[in-house]
């Protein structure tokens, strides 16, 4: 008997994706993660644009990872032109990406993922039984957005972070307001860990996963120049083509990635497991408490890893603000870039995983070639592997059950489909 199990359109994820699994008798024949969000061609548009405005366009690849794209873009340009930024800029960028992590993870953990485990179709309906939790989650999300607003200029597609620094330095009062919001919502971040640690996390997708994440340096974080892989290797981000090996597939507008011939996973679970020794304070304690269930074999644990990152990010925002305030805020202006014909590659950890930008410039500083590799495109092949594993384990279950399982697996990756559909240039 041939069964075609289809999730027509994934819900509670950003963008448009479809899952199709074909079962013949007792065998899973075919698995497809189809991404049908329209292709967006950013790498083609950006050609001939002067470097100074490149981040303003490229950040529009994605709304929920807007600051990640903008910082990846800025770092890429600064690498190309050898721009060295100040310590204050470095800390403000760190604050910005941690704020983005809070905004994005709070939305995903509470509003998109948690309803699956508490039995609701959405957070609005979940609010009827868990009103305090949903309200607190919105406050936590709001605290993350305060960082976007103050540091970047807007919640979505800000403009204040520039090549060479920040156009306007936030005021002491603005930073103190963010600090107060972080202090008052820290317990909500801890609640996220608690909620996920309490619910029964299914094991139907358990299998080997190769993990990949940026090495943030001494302290846990989301910006770095080297990539860590769970096989124990470490690579400069410039090696991304051989780490990601993107290829075009007919059934998806997002390209598919592989590392040494197999799929791999990027995102919170990869980061937590590869950089666990760098966690500090409450986040380190929470990791210790839950490390037995936080296994690399279960993709669904990405939700719990995100919750731990929420706690880390709240603490880091407070720490960054304290350092900025004790150093004294300086209106230091932008470090000038001297454009020249060159190539730059830069990466950051977006909420859902490693994000690479790669630009080549002409002598006037205009783009001649661009390539972007997004986390969701990298995860797509691993998602297919998980659907296959789960379908094999649950082959006797009815279609409705499998549809629900595939959706829960997809959501655990916190996919950002808009991001994934502009892809890379094919290397000829």
């Amino acid at each position: 008997m041939r069964r075609v199990i289809e999730v027509e359109e994934l819900t509670r994820v950003e963008g448009h994706g479809r899952i199709e699994v074909v079962i013949e008798g007792t065998e899973v024949k075919d698995v497809k993660m189809a991404i049908f969000e329209g292709p967006r061609f950013f790498e083609a548009f950006i050609e001939s644009v002067h470097y100074e405005k490149v981040p303003d366009i490229m950040r529009r690849i994605c709304a929920i990872c807007t600051a990640s794209h903008s910082l990846a873009s800025i770092r890429t340009i600064e690498n190309a032109f050898d721009v060295k930024v100040t310590e204050q800029t470095r800390i403000l960028r760190d604050l910005l990406i941690h704020g983005e992590m809070i905004e994005s993870h709070a939305l995903h953990v509470f509003m998109l993922a948690l309803p699956d485990f508490l039995g609701f179709p959405d957070a609005i309906r979940m609010a009827s039984k868990y009103p305090e939790e949903v309200k607190a989650a919105l406050q936590l999300k709001h605290a993350g957005n305060m960082v976007h607003n103050v540091v970047s200029g807007r919640e979505v597609h800000g403009m204040n972070e520039r090549v060479g620094g920040f156009s306007k330095i936030p005021s002491e009062k603005e930073l103190k307001d963010i600090r107060a919001a972080m202090v008052s919502t820290k317990q909500t971040a801890e609640l996220a860990v608690d909620l996920f640690a309490k619910v029964e996390i299914p094991k139907y997708a358990e299998s080997e996963n190769t993990l990949m994440a940026l090495d943030p340096g001494e302290k846990y974080g989301f910006i770095g120049d080297y990539v860590l892989v769970s096989d124990g290797t470490r690579h400069p981000v410039q090696d991304y083509p051989s780490l990601t090996n993107e290829r075009t597939v007919k059934h998806s507008h997002a390209k598919f990635s592989s590392y040494k011939g197999s799929s791999y996973m990027v995102g919170a679970l990869s980061r937590i497991l590869l950089n666990r020794d760098k966690l500090e304070g409450t986040a380190a304690e929470l990791y210790e408490e839950h490390k037995d269930i936080l296994t690399s074999r279960n993709t669904l644990m990405n939700n719990l890893a995100q919750a731990i990152e929420l706690v880390h990010s709240v603490d880091r925002c407070i720490e960054d603000i304290d350092i900025l305030l004790s150093n004294g805020l300086k209106n230091e202006g932008l470090v000038e870039a001297e454009p020249r014909a060159s190539r730059g590659i830069g990466a950051v950890e977006a909420p859902r995983g490693t994000l690479y930008h790669d630009y080549t410039f002409d002598e006037n500083g205009c783009v001649v070639k661009a390539n972007v590799i997004t986390p969701t495109a990298q995860n797509a092949a691993n998602m297919e592997k998980d659907y296959r594993v789960a379908a094999e384990r649950l082959i006797k279950e009815p279609d409705e059950k499998l549809i629900n399982v595939f959706e829960i697996i997809a959501r655990a990756y916190d996919p950002c489909i808009s991001c994934s559909v502009h892809l890379t240039r094919i290397q000829k």
Binding site: E14, G38, C62, A63, V156, K428
Partner: protein, 269 residues
């Protein structure tokens, strides 16, 4: 007395970054209260609940970039009393339309995917009104929170929200910000662009890049071009700037044509 029925609403997205729906979700302090005034029948990014019924209001973000988008849009139009385009993508294609009339779809497919145009079902990105009747357009990349909140609450009270028909410069002057175009010579697009952002970029000392799109029927593109040429920017640089959010705007497309004819002539000489 029976309670009046809540308006049935659907929130949809075509091709884009998802930022306009996200701005609605960013209304954190009032979000639950606001959503509770509606009967939400379809909201793919926020809910797994779905009911295929007639809608009082459909909010649609994203551009029509594939045949699938177009079919979806037509179905939404059929089932909705009022269709509201939220954000630049749904109005004029936004950055996705940056190279419209300049780079063919075939070229884009070759450049990015290395395959021919018919590999995927792509269309040149356009706003909703190129295909269906649109009752209201709310501009922005992304939309402003206050503006969408005001629009939705107006509709709840049975009023049509007002559309803004003046440029960013008006808000910039009202705030007393120094003019970055005149005083610093930065390539600010404020004179052409729909206000409503409270001149956010000039406040930060930055030039407007036009993310709320050109003001309909009002923008004097030729005059802006002349000012920027006088400031020393070359034509290609200025047109790229104008195209960021104006690729489907007629005056900007015409200027591009003139420029490419001129450079062809030069090459021929």
């Amino acid at each position: 007395m029976a309670k009046p029925e809540k308006p049935k609403i659907g929130i949809f997205s075509l091709t884009g970054c998802g930022g306009d729906q996200l701005m609605i979700l960013n209304l954190e302090p009032v979000l639950l209260d606001l959503l509770s005034r509606f009967d939400i029948k379809d909201f793919q990014e926020g809910s797994s609940y779905k009911e295929d019924v007639e809608l009082d209001i459909a909010l649609v973000e994203g551009s029509v970039s594939t045949k699938t988008d177009l079919e979806k849009l037509k179905k939404i139009r059929e089932r909705s009393k009022m269709l509201i385009a939220i954000g630049d993508c749904a109005i004029g294609g936004c950055v996705q339309a940056m190279r419209n009339g300049q780079m063919s779809m075939e070229e884009r497919m070759k450049k990015v995917y290395g395959v021919s145009e018919d590999y995927y079902d792509v269309l040149e990105p356009k706003g909703l009104s190129s295909y269906v009747k649109v009752d209201l357009e709310i501009p922005g990349c992304p939309i402003e929170k206050d503006e969408i909140l005001h629009a939705i609450t107006s509709l709840l009270h049975g009023d049509m929200p007002e559309e803004i028909d003046y440029p960013v410069c008006v808000e910039c002057k009202l705030n007393g910000y120094p003019c970055v175009l005149v005083e610093k010579g930065m390539p600010c697009l404020g004179p052409l662009v729909t206000a409503g952002c409270n001149a956010r970029c000039p406040r930060l000392g930055l030039d407007c890049i036009g993310c709320r799109g050109p003001i309909s029927d009002e923008a004097n593109v030729a005059a802006e071009l002349k000012v920027l040429l006088d400031k020393g920017y070359d034509e290609e640089y200025i047109l790229n700037r104008l195209r960021f959010f104006g690729g489907n705007f007629e005056d900007i497309q015409n200027l591009t044509k003139k420029l490419s004819e001129k450079s062809e002539k030069k090459e021929g000489e």
